[in-house]
Symmetry: D2
Subunit: 281 residues, 4 copies
């Protein structure tokens, strides 16, 4: 994801310095004009620094670790965090940056790697109006649209997690619908065609419904990563005393899928669990 | 619904005989050219007879009751049942019609009364190819599109119930998302705008999301009627040993809503239960 | 169950007339001194008539059917119904008996057939104080204790269904606990010994826990019959707008068990579903 | 809890050194003969060191923190941890002690403070046979019985969490049963009497059932502490890909209770949520 985003910034004529702990990963970008930095300290000299990392542990280490970005970022510079991370970590990062007079924009994205490459991401951003104004031209390069959620950075992270929860809800609901229909003698693709031609025309229904109907779960977004996002959602909700019964069902689907050997599959494979429960698989 | 459908058939130049136990309800249609029948026996003389009634009890009485439609329908005539009824009743009706050499098309519809009036219904039909061929010109008058599901009538009823389940799943998932977002400091309409501008562009998200964000639950489709459909879905699923955890959550939401005084509300009011649970209401 | 109860009444010196549609089934009781009746009409001449039948359909037919018990029972006689039936049917039976001036005591029992044989049943009874006073000496013959719940017969049926729900809750909770423990390296029987030696000393924990730990599900009370009772519970709850999330989980366990080939097993087999979900089976 | 346990050890003639960050809390024990230590380093010179603390954070700090017990405990000494902590922390502690040649016995207890005072605790212990042999005379002083679960310390912590889950399941099942019964016209205490006189004779049913029937939720074990234990259970289960649907229901009950103002109540107050959902409260 990060490479695709950097490439788009380069393509739009921006000066880009890139840092990856594995230097070799930066070389393809160097060929496109990026400067390879040797340390976080070096990239921290940029006016705006994007981070795009795999999970909370990686972000925590890179940003608020003892030799992390925050230790080197000049006061007034802007850190844009596009990773999908927990609400709690986003809050800790915000406190850290505020303490040091640094600006922090949480800006997770919706879209798979191909959407990042074609600059079709949706960007969900929270931060101060000033910081947002500075980075919005960059967002316009990276995505098809961006949304300013609020001044509180962690709100953007919560919206991102909520979006994934809603997609997972679509997957589970379709999985239940197809198991029932199949037991009732209705062909899965036929059901899907009716649904997506009438009330459920959003692409998520076609995309995930197709995967479930085909029972084809080659990984795009793997089950353990998606399960992690549902865990982050439930942890955020728990901290605010909000119960989410659909999210609990989805959580259990992921655990069952992984316990039964599905850790290598795409997250849409939870859409096959209703069929499994009802003896169809 | 039935009146709007009859009016459309009249508007398309068809000869229509209407019967309602309360004769006064037929008079508006008489002004549009319908013949008012005095009994089920009389309407049974039509080549094709549509029934559109409130629930299983009404359909059972009107169709397979001792003086019902089936007792009077000539062999070879076609009964089109557009009511939302149970899979079990649809099967009993099918057996009854088959025994008497009558054709039976189960053809429930998606769409609210205004969609019926403007001939924008989606019609989900099951029956023999011959019967479908005969009635398809009528379906083209009544709706914007129809789908032939299978030869087994009850399959169409199952698809209808499944569609309502999927809408209810959208409502519940949005209800949970909005409660969480609100607790996290995100304005409900703002969240909805992000969602429906990006991944969830289907009209159901906009329509029901708007009602939930507004907390405006004036009845279109009332909670007890929707709860009845979820009950029919769960009964059909139970008869086939299919468990539907999302449907069970939705069922409980309806029961809680009605227990807490919401029986007069629109079914989208279950989208406020997550807020209620988390102390926002 | 009915035979064992009749035998105990005979053993206590009561005059007993028995009726079974399959006369041969009554003959063993005749050897113990029972009079075999040829019809419901004939047994209806007894001052107190017990019915003990398999399900709602059998009870409905035998009691309020056109040639059923109620049609023949003299005014003032007492019908004691010990079958596990729905709350709704119990209410219809009550209305029917009241209309004809007959007394109705709903008196379902807790206990397996061996408890019936050894007069160790617990009897849960509802009816008028007068009727209860008349039948209480019989209850003392049939069981180790009886409880007068209320004057409303259907209340006793609800207590019976509630008892089965609570046992099923014990089974499910132990099934989850054992799956978790096993994954965590704790031997199932060892866990059970700790639990039943400390906080959970009730026999239900030992009995059902032992079956789950042994994974031995030879039928005592078969899964489909238990699932029927959970269905009756959920129907009664739905009619009163009461949601029961534990009961919904249990319902789904039964459906999954039966869908996966477990219809011949004891109901305690739902205690193996958590292990199945987590890949242990 | 810790004070009561120390007092019992003193009463049995053992030499006891006590340490509490708030020295005043140790003084009552000094009057009973305990030596007050000034630091963890000082208590670490005992052959066996018990810790009994409020939560993971306190235990982590006291045991594996930079100046914690483990830093001072001589090789071969035994640390007995009786706190209710997470499985993950117990595993980290085990690794830490093993690395330093220290013995670690995880020994959480079942029982409220009054049970600790009267030496009626049940102790669930895991550790090496040698360590267990050394500490078993102490366990016999502290509780009415102890169980050796396995050599893996964290197994004992898992059993403790499982026990609390099973109690919470009893509470929830009784809460649902009582809401249903009350809606059905059955007095709550009457239902409870029937249940606890027949199938559910374990003290947990009487104790918690009585609190629910009385709707008296003065704190013994407060809701937030119990919710924490359910969280630890679900986290341990998640790490092993085990889904626990009953535990998820219980989790949501706690969140709803606390969101609706019940954070000061006893954990048995989740037994009132079914009544609240069904409009009885």
């Amino acid at each position: 994801m990060g490479s695709a985003m950097a490439a788009n910034l380069l393509g739009a004529g921006h000066e880009v310095h890139v840092y990856n702990r594995t230097r070799a990963k930066s070389e393809a970008l160097a060929e496109k004009g990026a400067n390879i930095a040797d340390s976080l300290e070096e990239v921290a000299q940029s006016k705006v620094v994007f981070t795009m990392l795999a999970n909370d542990a990686a972000v925590e280490d890179a940003v608020v670790g003892s030799n992390g970005l925050s230790a080197h970022l000049p006061s007034g510079s802007i850190h844009v965090s596009s990773s999908t991370i927990s609400v709690a970590l986003s809050e800790r990062i915000a406190q850290n940056h505020t303490m040091r007079g640094q600006e922090y924009v949480a800006a997770p994205v919706f879209g798979r790697p191909d959407a990042a490459a074609s600059a079709k991401l949706f960007i969900v951003a929270s931060g101060t109006p000033g910081a947002l104004e500075t980075v919005s031209p960059l967002f316009n390069v990276l995505g098809q649209r961006f949304f300013h959620i609020s001044e509180d950075p962690k709100a953007a992270n919560l919206v991102k997690l909520t979006g994934n929860f809603l997609i997972a809800s679509v997957i589970e609901s379709l999985g239940e619908a197809m198991a029932l229909a199949e037991r009732g003698g209705i062909e899965r693709h036929r059901l899907l065609e009716v649904l997506t031609s009438t009330l459920f025309t959003a692409p998520v229904y076609k995309t995930y419904g197709g995967l479930i109907a085909d029972r084809h779960f080659e990984p795009g977004f793997s089950a353990p990563l998606a399960q992690k996002d549902i865990r982050l959602l439930l942890e955020a909700a728990e901290a605010m005393n909000v119960s989410l019964p659909f999210a609990s069902v989805i959580r259990d689907r992921f655990l069952n899928l992984m316990a039964q050997g599905g850790s290598e599959l795409d997250w849409s494979a939870i859409g096959s669990m209703a069929a499994r429960d009802s003896g169809l698989l």
